[in-house]
Symmetry: C2
């Protein structure tokens, strides 16, 4: 029998066949009419997915490149920036702000905690003069999705520009760029946007662009103004990753065809089903058991189980790719991603594989209980 | 009849079907064994194509991103840098060096001229204290391929680090990174490497890495040390463009299977055939009529012909994509790219399309003369 592979990591995520097919088309010139049409459509669809009237700038880069575009365009050395972090990607904001010479105020939680808007309010009041606040919507390393509306509101009240990492949340959980007054949203192609990694995005408000006009940090490739002007004439500033842009356009079309609200609802239901299945196996959740955390289910590794061995067995024996914890959570948690092109059978497969692996490692688990409870939860949700 | 498309631009370039097929494989995790194996192989093959024992750093970015990695890792504000420019991409080095605060000495030629190593020697002597010299191997905007061995030698004599843009030359014309003492070679996936755009590379010498350790320009995404360390354990610093890396690995395998010398010889023969065909139509070459200029054939637009209209007719009526001039050469030249996955029939097709277009626009050209002369040149070369 052919070995089948299952990608249940929180990025990269599975890519639908229509999107893969777009990647394999013969390469076309980036200044020809076919590409220009798709590029324009892609930029428009990005605006719709962000729910913004702002420009969404598209970079050939990983999500980290889009992060850097925010920091390098908004930071002049010595200016005060506040970073809220509770995991690996929040820490990345802090490292990057420091690299660009920001006077960093770090509101730092233990990995896995959920940021409290009142802590941010206190930190902003105490520090004073914060020019920019960097937030993480979905902290992929822990599974926590923050209340970004409330956090953004607090940052705005303090007169700061609000920058949000939405790499693993955009298209999966509600994010209202304009309604919530978020100046900059950075994201990437490889999560809920159902496209391979390689494209980073940054939606930029008028205020953010105005700030960028006065920022002294050196930059070229990620310079917002250069990319904004180029996008206005649908002529990318630098040769874009043609197949990835065509693929992203197809994927965004699929997302908007399903409808953003339907996609959010689907992610919430799948997250709930996954958590219910995990608990039914007698495992403890690491990520919060709430509907907002619909992107990644983080599970505590049960006592007596070696996480690395379990993950290797799942991968090499069953073709199922989950991931462990990053940084300080290494060995302590497992993560099941359900971002983007996922349905209930991906959840039952992930849970069934986990059951197989744990039982082989000596755990006592009633056969099929996780998949059963997940389906039950999924069907219950449909009845509501 | 289905409309067939022909991509004869100097980037992006045609991608072989095996490479396209690699793009369309279901996405795999970048930390799983299949990717790690291909990633390691790809990095090794990049070293072979560069003819270097240095690390070749791989970035998810356009070639311009690889440029920026060189400038941001080598430039501390106020340090003297020399840029030799004779076209659009040389000018890009200059813009970028200025953006990062270099004290720029600009050895600037008219677009289309061939840089003279003695001019560089004079400029270096006059300026003194140059820390870095930025060169362009193949100036894609004009078709000129510089004598990079001689230029690099002059720069080295002056004690400067040597940085070469080989975006459109790597794999097409001879480049001996180590034998010629080139500290940094930047390139991209989308030219002779026969892969879509989206990956940039930088080969870095020990001296270049040492300099980077003392450079004060802020950087994160393009930081060499971060990428170098990550590559050592085959764990990319940031989520890589998985399908592009797999595709590049396939393409590099094809190049090395053909053999670098054979690829160089093929490019030289195709370039000669193209130039002979162009001249047989009574057109004047803009790029030099020498075997080094094997990458792009730039042709002067004949009097009475509107370049933009001609290019549109070729594209929209015949499905043949050539490009015009950039910047100050707009309207004055046409460019035929023959980089990467090209054979003699691509040359005869490009020339035949040009003949059709020119005759329709009123030119007097003997039917088939260009294709005929190109084939003759090609066959003669085989006999030598």
């Amino acid at each position: 029998m052919p070995e089948k592979r299952y990608l249940f990591t929180p990025g990269p995520t599975p890519v639908p066949p229509q999107v893969l097919a777009a990647l394999a088309q013969p390469v076309i010139h980036h200044r020809g009419p076919d590409f220009v049409r798709a590029y324009g459509e892609c930029l428009e669809r990005l605006g719709a997915v962000h729910r913004t009237a702002n420009d969404v700038l598209l970079f050939t880069a990983s999500g980290t490149g889009a992060f850097e575009s925010a920091v390098s365009n908004l930071t002049s050395p010595g200016e005060r920036a506040v970073v809220v972090s509770a995991g690996n990607f929040g820490e990345r904001w802090a490292s990057m702000a420091k690299a660009f010479g920001a006077d960093l105020v770090h509101v730092r939680y233990a990995w896995g905690e959920t940021p409290d808007p009142e802590d941010l309010r206190g930190a902003l009041a105490e520090a004073g003069g914060a020019r920019t606040v960097y937030l993480t919507h979905s902290e992929t390393s822990t599974g926590v999705v923050a209340d970004i509306e409330a956090l953004a509101s607090v940052a705005r009240d303090a007169g700061a520009l609000v920058v949000v990492d939405a790499v693993s949340s955009l298209g999966a959980v509600p994010l209202e760029t304009d309604a919530w007054g978020i100046d900059v949203v950075v994201s990437g192609s490889q999560k809920a946007l159902m496209t391979p990694p390689g494209l980073g995005t940054a939606s930029v408000s008028a205020a953010a662009l105005e700030r960028a006009g006065t920022t002294t940090s050196p930059r070229f490739y990620f310079d917002w103004e250069q990319t904004r002007v180029a996008q206005q004439s649908l002529d990318a500033a630098f040769t874009p990753a043609v197949p990835l842009v065509l693929a992203l356009n197809v994927a965004l079309g699929l997302i908007l065809e399903e409808g953003l609200e339907a996609a959010f609802e689907r992610h919430a239901r799948l997250g709930r089903a996954c958590r219910e299945g995990v608990k039914a196996m007698g495992l403890e959740l690491f990520s919060p058991d709430d509907d907002r955390s619909a992107v990644v289910t983080a599970v505590k590794v049960p006592p007596g189980i070696d996480a690395a061995e379990l993950l290797l067995a799942l991968r090499d024996r069953f073709g199922v790719q989950l991931v462990g914890g990053q940084g300080e959570l290494k060995g302590k948690i497992l993560r099941i991603g359900h971002i983007g092109w996922f349905d209930i059978f991906d959840i039952t497969t992930a849970l069934s594989a986990l059951e197989l692996g744990l039982v082989e490692a000596g755990a006592q688990i009633e056969r099929g209980v996780a998949a059963g409870r997940a389906m039950e939860s999924f069907v219950e949700a449909a009845r509501v």
